[in-house]
Amino acid sequence: MTEMVPAALPVDLGNGPFAVTTRGLAKRFGSVRALDGLDLQVPEGAVYVLVGPNGAGKSTLIRTLMGLVRYQAGSVDVLGRDPADRGAEVRAGIGYVPEDYRFGYAWMTVGRLLEHQAVYHPSWDAEYARRLRARYEIDPGRKCHALSKGQSRRVQLVLALAHRPPLLLLDEPTDGLDHVVRDETLSILSEHLADSPTTVVISTHRVYEVEPLVDHVGVLAGGRLLGQLPRDELHMGLLRYWADVPEGWRPPRELSGRVVRRNGSARMIEWTVWGDRDAVTRGLSEAGAAVRDVAPVSVDEAAVALLSGREAS
């Protein structure tokens, strides 16, 4: 089961500057490798989406960046610090929406919780917090334990955004939100990005919900990155090819390792391929395939192609 699949997509973003990096990051829970030699690179000012199925390691990674999980091998740099030994300092610079929507201070009212957070963060913007609370229609008199999942998420988003931190770590931020509130959240995040210089890491398995905001993509599976690249490069380089092929057709050898996903029937292929569009089209044509159409894929489709291609191999 440890057969190495050739990495079709790039995983190295170059020299930065990066707000967050990990090198060879590893974390085991018992015999389960949650993170397995992970090299994460989040450029400063990026909106980086971390995509992957449940159990891919997304939440473990984010909790490691927060200093809430101790890693066992490798190194971590979050805003110039190692969260393993300077956790409190690191957390002061992060707006965090945890996967878990329950609050530690369940007995507090929402208003009291917001005041509590304001004291903890010197950069707390009370006016901004008030505006967000109004847009989200949050009742400050409610007890935290009495909030629904969606209401909790909204409070968590206010807590994360209102101190205008240099780094936002949002673990499934739209989880539990209805359509209207999710749409409002995207609008709030757009404005937040326009107003405050921020690096954002969003973990989600529903990337289509946040896709228009995203400019970098990391696809995580089994504690490793299958791809890590700017969204524009993904858009240009990962394309879907439709072609008519003769029966018993054999694919050109130069495409081996570049085909991320194979679909189709006896006389038609629908392949998702990483590489230069002209070169791939030429390769297919020279091998006897009549290319009918080439189209880019969404980030969501790219993730599905990468993840299902991996399972099939």
Binding site: D183, S190, L193, P212, R292, D293
Partner: protein, 134 residues
């Protein structure tokens, strides 16, 4: 200026924003010296990354269609003549997409020309009578 982005469109979002501005110029809903929405307002209403809007505005500026004035906003350039440059350009882009769509269904340019000729006789073209509802 109303903009509707389509994720099925296949073109990058900033290109779609650029074409929406071009389309506004061709329709006349945007005229020389008119202000464009701020990056913040447009990204918020489209729910996109503000950098995407900035990128679209920067590309439009490079094409000479808009001027970015620091601290004041982005404006349609004073000397823009949409009828001479943008209308044929937008038409070429729409034609290119129609042709790509035709080839997807196994049709050739001639099929498309025939169909367009027939439509022109049946349906009076409403190119200039449209409201700004793209």
């Amino acid at each position: 200026m109303k903009i509707r982005l389509s994720h099925a469109d296949g073109r990058p979002l900033y290109v779609q924003i650029m074409d929406a501005v071009r389309s506004g110029l061709v329709r006349g809903s945007l005229r020389p010296k008119d202000p464009l929405p701020s990056v913040r307002d447009l990204s918020s209403s489209l729910r996109v990354n503000p950098r995407t809007v900035s990128q679209a505005y920067a590309e439009l500026e490079r094409d000479g269609l808009v001027q970015v004035r620091h601290g004041k906003g982005t404006f349609v350039a004073p000397g823009v003549r949409p009828e001479e440059t943008e209308r044929p350009r937008l038409a070429r882009e729409v034609a290119r997409r129609a042709l790509a769509d035709a080839s997807r269904y196994g049709l050739a340019l001639a099929d498309l020309m025939t169909a367009l000729g027939e439509m022109d006789r049946k349906v009076p073209m409403e190119t200039t009578a449209h409201g700004d509802n793209s």
